[in-house]
């Protein structure tokens, strides 16, 4: 049979002046059959996005096609006239990008953007396109499908926007969808919700798709066929079952090894005597914080409530929770970027001033912040030697040769060549930039480093290298870490203790192996169940589970009274949970949980997993949506 898309010996390169061109894609061939989902997997730099964009006859600026053919139903897209290319894009092949938030034009309504390409290509009239868009909003299980299109992109959530982008791609009934890491930037819970919607709609529409990702667990859920890429070349390709369960190529095996096995107890290192110093280094006591004017110890918008936690010397505390739970806010309070409304932050027995402005230089030095996006945290106009030299000069008071030696030492510490000091951050790869970002914090010789999602933007192999580096830094320097992430597997492998934040409150905290073994707080359970497993059919199985039914349908809402997880909790007690705050009790030494159920009750429910106490009837998908009239 004739294939829908035939890619043969595709070559793409970056031409350079006076130098041979850099080859990005080196002779890639694969096919996509009608109705089939083909996954392109590989780490960053493997050329997977570049290849997928090729099917739209598009290259990023600075690249060009240098050979091969891409045939869509027999037409070579690379030799098309401009009119043919315009007709191809959005009409015959549609693209879904990684970040819907950046891909939607903030100034236009959602509906205009969703229907634009179908109307422009003359496939439908505006009215037909509007009807079709509304049908898709229904199919994608979006809230208030009749009216969501009249909103602007900033008025819907990230997960909803991601699904709206799918509607934008599907509206003109394209032959082929190109999905470029469409769930990578999302929380685990949101990722499931989006994956489920994508899978359903791809099946219903019968469209073929190219799915670009580095996440094998996701691939196992959606793909029919897998193409493994490395450095612009195909390493191995075959049916999903064969690649996942019986990989042949060494690179595929390496990818499998780097892919997480899901968070489980016992994945981390046992605490060595060295880094187990039983002194509380940093403590947060009865802290409440938020945004806006503080009146009587209450901010206008309260985010964090009554936070008590500590980080022992040389320990790693993982802070987990979905976006909007206050993880970054917690780090900002500790760093002094956001003064708390109540309570205090204690470091080495001394109460720290609320604002960084009034903290002593010595205190500032002890607490260092590492940002998620090394791209934006490092000044592109400064050499690495300047980026690292300034904090060395400021906090260690070194000048001249001593300063240069210190910078070289820092580079060695983060396992980068010393020659990098004469480069600009923009010349480095994502993983290298993140290492510089860490070295910049280490230059201050801190006691505690607040790492905010430092591995989230990196692909799995690079991320696991960075985590290994962090472990070595912890052992070498004795620095403690607060490690904020939504990636539970990383926490399971790296942290000593876990703090689970939900809607600004700590719902569970304790040693990592305790928190990751039953009995779970219902929220911890939802998070753990949402991490995709590298097993075909996992998605369907998981969606059958009780905690998913209510947990996935709703998002984080910060409430003033009661337990904020009430409306997503499968075992919530009506009349109690929404009225009074959950009591916090000690399950085991140092393992605290906040729930109206006792440990015995939770354990009993865990053992009878299908017994539903309460919750399903609340799962009506529409009542959680707050729609304001336009």
């Amino acid at each position: 049979m004739s294939e829908l898309l035939e890619v043969r010996d595709l070559r793409i390169e970056a031409p350079k002046k006076d130098e041979p061109a850099v080859k990005i894609v080196k002779g890639v061939s694969f096919d996509v059959k009608a109705g089939e989902v083909v996954a392109l997997i590989g780490e960053s730099g493997s050329g997977k996005t570049t290849i997928s964009l090729g099917s739209l006859a598009y290259t990023k600026p600075g690249l060009e096609f240098s050979g091969g053919t891409i045939k869509l139903k027999g037409d070579d897209v690379l030799t098309m006239e401009p009119q043919g290319v315009r007709n191809l894009r959005g009409n015959r092949v549609a693209y879904l990008a990684q970040s819907a938030a950046a891909t939607f034009n903030p100034a236009l309504t959602i509906n205009e953007q969703v229907t634009e390409s179908a109307v422009l290509h003359g496939v439908m009239t505006q009215d037909e396109a509007d009807v079709r868009a509304t049908e898709l909003y229904h199919a994608l299980e979006l809230p208030d499908p009749e009216r969501i299109g009249f909103r602007y992109p900033h008025q819907v959530s990230g997960g909803q926007l991601q699904r709206l982008m799918a509607a934008m791609a599907l509206v003109g009934r394209p032959d082929l969808l190109v999905l470029d890491e469409p769930t990578t930037a999302l929380d685990v819970t949101t990722q499931i919700e989006v994956l489920k919607a994508f899978k359903k709609v791809i099946k219903e529409e019968g469209s073929a798709a190219i799915y670009v990702t580095h996440d094998l667990a996701v691939v196992a859920q959606v793909a029919d066929h897998i193409v493994v890429l490395y450095s612009g070349e195909v390493q191995e390709q075959g049916p999903v079952d064969q690649i996942i369960n019986n990989p042949q190529h060494p690179y595929t095996k390496r990818l499998m090894a780097a892919a997480h096995a899901g968070p489980k107890p016992g994945m981390g290192d046992k605490l060595s005597g060295d880094h187990d110093k039983d002194v509380a280094n940093m403590q947060v006591k009865n802290m409440t914080a938020g945004y806006g004017e503080i009146v009587d110890g209450k901010p206008a918008i309260t985010v964090l409530r009554d936070i008590n936690m500590s980080v022992k010397n040389g320990h790693v505390v993982g802070v987990i929770g979905e976006s909007g739970c206050g993880k970054s806010t917690l780090a900002r309070v500790i760093a002094g970027l956001l003064p708390p409304a109540q309570g205090e932050v204690i470091l080495d027995g001394n109460i720290l001033k609320g604002s960084y402005k009034s903290r002593a230089k010595r205190d500032l030095q002890k607490v260092q912040f590492v940002y998620q996006m090394a791209d934006t945290a490092l000044n592109p106009k400064q050499l690495i030697s300047e980026i690292l030299g300034r904090p060395v000069e400021m906090f260690q008071n070194l000048r001249g040769k001593a300063k240069r030696e210190k910078v070289a030492e820092l580079l060695r510490l983060v396992e980068l060549p010393v020659e990098f000091e004469n480069r600009y951050a923009t010349e480095l790869s994502g993983g290298q930039k993140q290492r510089i970002n860490l070295a910049r914090s280490l230059a201050a010789m801190p006691e505690i480093m607040l790492c905010d999602e430092v591995t989230s933007a990196l692909d799995s192999i690079v991320a696991s290298n960075v985590v290994n580096l962090l472990k070595r830094l912890r052992d070498l320097t004795g620095v403690s870490f607060m490690f904020i992430t939504h990636d539970l597997s990383t926490v399971a492998a790296f942290a000593d203790e876990i703090v689970v934040l939900y809607a600004g409150r700590i719902v569970e905290q304790g040693p990592v192996d305790e928190v990751l073994s039953p009995p779970f707080h219902p929220y911890t359970r939802l998070l753990i169940s949402s991490v995709p497993e590298m097993r075909i059919g996992w998605l369907e199985e998981t969606m059958q589970k009780r905690e998913m039914a209510v947990g996935i349908a709703r998002g984080v809402e910060i409430t003033d009274i009661g337990c904020p997880f009430y409306n997503r909790c499968p075992i919530a007690i009506a009349g109690t949970c929404e009225r009074t705050s959950a009591p916090t009790y000690e399950l085991k030494p140092d393992h605290f949980i906040s729930c109206h159920h006792t440990a015995e009750e939770i354990e009993a429910i865990e053992k009878a997993p299908q017994q539903v106490l309460h919750g399903f009837e609340k799962a009506a998908p529409d009542d959680d949506v707050i729609v304001k009239p336009l």
């Binding site: 959005g90 549609a94 034009n105 903030p106 100034a107 390409s117 422009l120 602007y152 900033h154």
Partner: protein, 315 residues
């Protein structure tokens, strides 16, 4: 959003008040005694004192300020110290002339610059863009008096097409007025358009690097539609700001152009006022200029707020 707009207007009023204090204090500490200047060197101390008492100049400064500010509100701008005419009547005609000049320049230059800026952004690195970039950069870097003098040299002295002096009077017909003021008009259009074209182009091209523009390319949207529908809406804020600053310049900053062409506008009136130590006149002109700035900036802020869907439609 309404709150933001009201806030802007409130801040504008505060700014105007602060400006009025600064203008009043600033002109009061200027050297030179009005009474002395008006009455001349021969005046006796008694006549000087009588003049001061008559004009309230012997009052404490804050009382003078209060009287002056009250006058501003009621439209009574005072009596010119150097001629005895009411300042309102002095300013009236000049203000109309200035508004005529600024209005005509704005009506022509704003659409012209936005269209040319869009054109340059639509076809970057083509001959259109290069000509526009070269032209606008050259014109921005040349001072306005040079352009004005150059125009006089060519059109009035060498070619003799247009009068060197823009001598407009209220009795002229429309055609005569336009002919008389053609050279200041053209000079100003050139000066303000160059900057607005640059900023429109830069604003659009800045937006053109956004991921949502790449997305619209991948949706098969034509380049013209991408610029007019997707990019322009997001670039309105900065563009409107530059337009507002340039329009404010048209009212207050055109002293040099008015002087070179002897155009009877407001800015020239103010210069004359300074030369004759006519403080009430200077104060009134200064307030009009500042007021124009504040009003135009408020308008551009409001336009920017209205063009931003996040502010227009909160969550």
């Amino acid at each position: 959003m309404q709150r933001m707009v009201i806030q802007r207007i409130f801040i504008g009023i505060i700014t105007l008040w602060v400006v009025s204090v600064l203008v009043f204090v600033g002109t009061s500490v200027l050297p030179g005694d009005v009474a002395q200047i008006v009455l001349g060197q021969a005046a006796t101390p008694e006549t000087l004192a009588a003049y001061r008492a008559e004009n309230g100049l012997d009052q404490p400064l804050y009382m003078q300020y209060a009287t002056w500010l009250g006058g501003m509100f009621t439209g009574n701008l005072g009596i010119s110290k150097a001629g005895g005419a009411s300042i309102s009547s002095l300013i009236g005609g000049r203000f109309a002339n200035t508004m005529f000049l600024a209005g005509v320049v704005a009506i022509i230059s704003v659409p012209l610059s936005v269209v040319l800026g869009l054109l340059a952004a639509m076809y970057p690195a083509t001959w259109i863009d290069r000509v526009l970039t070269f032209g606008t950069l050259s014109l921005i870097s040349v001072p306005d008096f040079f352009i004005a003098t150059f125009m006089v040299l060519i059109f009035a002295v060498n070619l003799g097409w247009l009068p060197a002096i823009a001598n407009v009077s209220p009795d002229d017909t429309m055609l005569e007025t336009i002919q008389a003021s053609a050279m200041p008009l053209i000079t100003l259009i050139i000066v303000v358009s160059a900057q607005m074209i640059r900023m429109t182009r830069a604003g659009i091209l800045n937006v053109m690097n956004s991921p949502y523009i790449e997305m619209s390319i991948l949706k098969g949207v034509t380049r013209n539609r991408i610029i007019t529908r997707h990019a322009f809406y997001n670039a309105i804020g900065p563009i409107v700001n530059v337009i507002a600053l340039n329009l404010a310049y048209l009212v207050s900053g055109v002293v040099i152009v008015e002087t070179i062409f002897a155009y009877p506008g407001l800015a020239k009136l103010m210069i004359d006022g300074v030369q004759t130590r006519d403080l009430p006149l200077v104060q009134a002109c200064a307030m009009i200029f500042c007021g124009t700035y504040v009003v135009l900036i408020i308008l551009s802020d409001v336009a920017a707020i209205l063009s931003n869907p996040r502010l227009r439609n909160p969550k």
